[in-house]
């Protein structure tokens, strides 16, 4: 008896049915009423012992029917769409028209959006796209897992606060308790912040880049935490958790021409779009240069790279410094939105950037940007009722859905939305047991 049942349960079809029904029940609980700590099981009970659960079970059965009939877990149409999508943005051979079209979308679509969405497009999508581009050099190109990446963003922001002041209500306001004797236009802070951030990257990387994969991850995580803690605790320098208020907006004065990026997000967005495009061009050139090849070599086989004359430590350090300076640059942009406090520079933010990079498709600059658009766009869209269904995700549950989407995405497309060709090959090969897709693998020490 029991063996027969368990045999039936372990058959693939039965297992799939079980999976679909389980998914349906989980969905019912997720969308169901809340519980409370007084009656912890009430939420689950009210979600499941309710007529609405039948709707979900029907949905589960439908899912089962669709997946079983199509004979594969992925609907075919969707696969094709995905392939085309990756062809459009994942390949080197994309023609200028394709790029121009994407650029046109990026320029025109925001004009149609509400000011809040525009603001989110700058602060959540744009800045994180820039951050992801930088981290992509570290994680995607060099294969180094950096969990303290946001620290350089903090360094950029605090550098800006140190070098600037603004006038509010006729009073001069310094963002920090200490300020530079020489106050600058935020535009001139860019090079300084980039320099300081990259020096910080080299100081951190110098002693630690010898460490392998996960050890590097934890050390960088520690660095990120240390920077945040210092920002929070050094009241006489950073104003502690009260943060820095009064960084002036960006402004440009060339001869008689002068322009100030005011409170509206759109001008900031366009500036950032320009920067992102320039950075994308620069980094794609970098990837195709000898440096990109050397980084790929390090990622695939560090010992062989070293034996082929590649100064592995130096290149890793270079990747680290490039990532850090991009992050620092983004920090300046963020700071010029007037106010920030240490909370922004949390480990969660580092993890978010990493998620964007991998979600988008590791090693691909389009992936980094697309990851930021999709993930951050999702976080934003979840604030409004879902179109067609009209169901509004309760604010408090937003991250339940967000987490589920990330998980489902990684399960069905572990290589990310648009992986780079090189990366895709590495992944295929590591499936076949050749090489390591990232330098996290136990990079054999030839023994």
């Amino acid at each position: 008896m029991t063996t027969a049942v368990s045999a039936r349960l372990s058959s693939p079809l039965a297992r799939r049915l079980g999976g679909c029904l389980f998914l349906a029940l989980v969905t019912a609980v997720v969308t169901g009423p809340d519980g409370s700590n007084v009656h912890p099981l009430d939420g689950v009970k009210n979600s499941l012992l309710n007529t609405r659960v039948f709707g979900f079970l029907v949905f589960g059965l439908l899912l089962f029917a669709v997946t079983s009939l199509s004979g594969r877990t992925k609907p075919i149409g969707l696969t094709q769409v995905r392939t085309r999508l990756s062809q459009a943005v994942g390949q080197r051979g994309t023609r200028p028209t394709g790029y121009l079209l994407l650029l046109a979308i990026a320029v025109l679509v925001p004009l149609q959006l509400s000011p809040a969405a525009q603001g989110s497009l700058f602060l959540d999508v744009g800045i994180y796209a820039l951050l992801a581009l930088g981290l992509n050099v570290v994680v995607g190109y060099a294969g180094l897992l950096d969990l303290g990446y946001i620290a350089f963003y903090a360094i950029g922001a605090y550098t800006t606060a140190y070098f600037t002041s603004s006038v509010i209500n006729g009073k001069v306001v310094y963002p920090l308790p200490v300020h530079s004797p020489l106050l600058l236009n935020p535009f001139f802070v860019f090079p300084i912040a980039v320099l300081i951030a990259s020096v910080a990257g080299i100081i951190l990387g110098g002693p630690t880049l010898r460490l392998r994969g996960d050890y590097l991850a934890i050390v960088t995580l520690g660095f990120g935490e240390i920077v945040q803690i210092l920002a929070r605790n050094s009241d006489p320098l950073t104003n502690g958790s009260r943060g820095a208020f009064g960084v002036p907006p960006l402004s440009l004065h060339i001869g008689g021409f002068s322009y100030t990026w005011g409170q509206d997000a759109l001008p900031y967005y366009y500036l950032l779009l320009g920067i992102v495009v320039v950075v994308m061009i620069a980094f794609s050139r970098l990837e195709r240069s000898r440096i990109g090849r050397a980084l790929a070599a390090i990622r695939e086989d560090e010992v062989a790279a070293e034996a082929s004359g590649v100064q592995t430590l130096r290149y890793k350090l270079l990747a680290f410094a490039i990532g850090a300076s991009t992050s620092g640059f983004a920090g300046v942009l963020y700071a010029t939105r007037q106010f920030f406090n240490p909370e922004t520079f949390s480990l969660q933010a580092s993890i978010l950037v990493l998620t964007i990079v991998i979600f988008g498709g590791m090693g691909n600059i389009f992936g980094a940007v697309l990851g930021a658009v999709v993930l951050q766009g999702l976080a934003y869209i979840l604030r409004d009722p879902i179109p067609l269904i009209g169901f509004k995700v309760p604010d408090a549950d937003r991250f339940v859905y967000f987490g589920a989407v990330i998980m489902i995405m990684m399960v069905f497309r572990p290589q990310g939305l648009v992986p780079s060709r090189r990366r895709k090959r590495e992944i295929t090969m590591s499936e076949q047991g050749m090489g390591s897709a990232d330098s996290l693998g136990s990079g054999e020490v030839s023994a």
């Binding site: 050890y215 990330i406 995405m409 399960v411 499936e431 693998g441």
Partner: protein, 310 residues
């Protein structure tokens, strides 16, 4: 209040916290051993175990006074329910966030992100189901202010003693399991070389699931201990998770005894650091020590091999 006066007090507190770190760290280290992956969602297993144990004990709690025998029984019940919740959560986690990726031969960073997604999902769902405020037991299982004994003048309460002893017992049991049982041999075989292990008849899939579940049982029970001493909330997992992960790396990730040593060392370092530099800089000290240790011993205090250590 010189350091010498406070030394034993700080040591006792540090060991206590360290023991809890160690219990969680074992989950990281075991999974790392067999999959070479950081299980980022392990902290949520710990959180769910805490809720499971806490709610069970709350349901069982009598209205009257609690005598010694009853408190022991309640602690055991809490541990059992906490462990069961943790084990179940770890099992579900492996099934949903890890196994499908393994079937697809996903790159290692994809697991990391999938686990991050699972972690967001689980913690926020717990917030939805169990409320977003912290919960604790309506009354203490042990009467407070009862000093059991003092170690060189350091006060140790009965609850602290129980937490420490239970943690210690779990660590010892796990060590025996890994070194002495067939399951342990399977885990070690997979840790050393999964391909060879499967050729030699080890059911690798099953070993992986069981490794997750063992880590979950420990983290769940640890979660209950933690919730009993402090409280439980849907965001409670993150910080101990990061600390335990740090402890696992400090000891040499993949190494069972290393995780224990790492946990205790981290607990002590934090407490001593807190004394000298204040609570704000506790983590700074902890991470500085981590960096220094890794620079001298690049693969942790005891090195990496799961097989060798156990």
């Amino acid at each position: 209040m010189s350091f010498v006066d406070q030394f034993w007090q700080l040591t006792v507190t540090g060991l206590l916290v360290g023991a809890i770190y160690a219990v969680i760290a074992l989950g990281y280290t075991l999974v790392y051993g067999v999959l070479q992956l950081i299980n980022f969602a392990h902290s949520e297993v710990f959180m769910l175990g805490a809720f499971g144990g806490l709610f069970a004990v709350r349901a069982l709690l009598p209205s009257g006074n609690i005598n010694a025998l009853l408190s022991v029984l309640l602690v055991l019940a809490g541990l059992a329910f906490g462990a069961a919740s943790g084990g179940l959560a770890a099992f579900a986690l492996e099934r949903t966030a890890y196994r499908p990726l393994r079937r697809r031969g996903a790159p290692r960073l994809a697991y990391l992100i999938s686990a991050i997604g699972a972690s967001l999902f689980a913690s926020n769902l717990a917030g939805k189901e169990f409320g977003r405020d912290s919960v604790n037991l309506p009354k203490d299982l042990f009467t407070y202010n009862t000093e059991v004994f003092s170690v060189f003048g350091a006060r140790v309460s009965s609850q602290d003693l129980v937490v420490f002893l239970v943690a210690l017992a779990m660590l010892l049991i796990l060590d025996r399991v890994v070194s002495g049982t067939q399951l342990g041999r399977g885990i070690r075989a997979v840790a050393q070389d999964a391909d060879t292990a499967s050729l030699m008849g080890v059911n690798v899939e099953r070993v992986i699931v069981r490794t997750f579940v063992i880590g979950g049982l420990l983290a769940g029970a640890g979660g209950f201990l933690y919730a009993m001493k402090f409280n439980a909330s849907f965001t409670m997992g993150f910080i101990p998770g990061v600390k335990a992960f740090t402890a696992a790396v400090l000891g040499g990730i993949g190494n069972v005894r290393g995780a224990v040593l790492g946990g205790l060392v981290l607990g002590l370092v934090e407490n001593y650091g807190q004394f000298f530099l204040g609570a704000d800089y506790t983590d700074v000290v902890a991470f500085m020590v981590l960096v220094l240790i890794l620079l001298v011993r690049p693969s942790g205090l005891l090195g990496e091999r799961l097989g060798r250590a156990a």
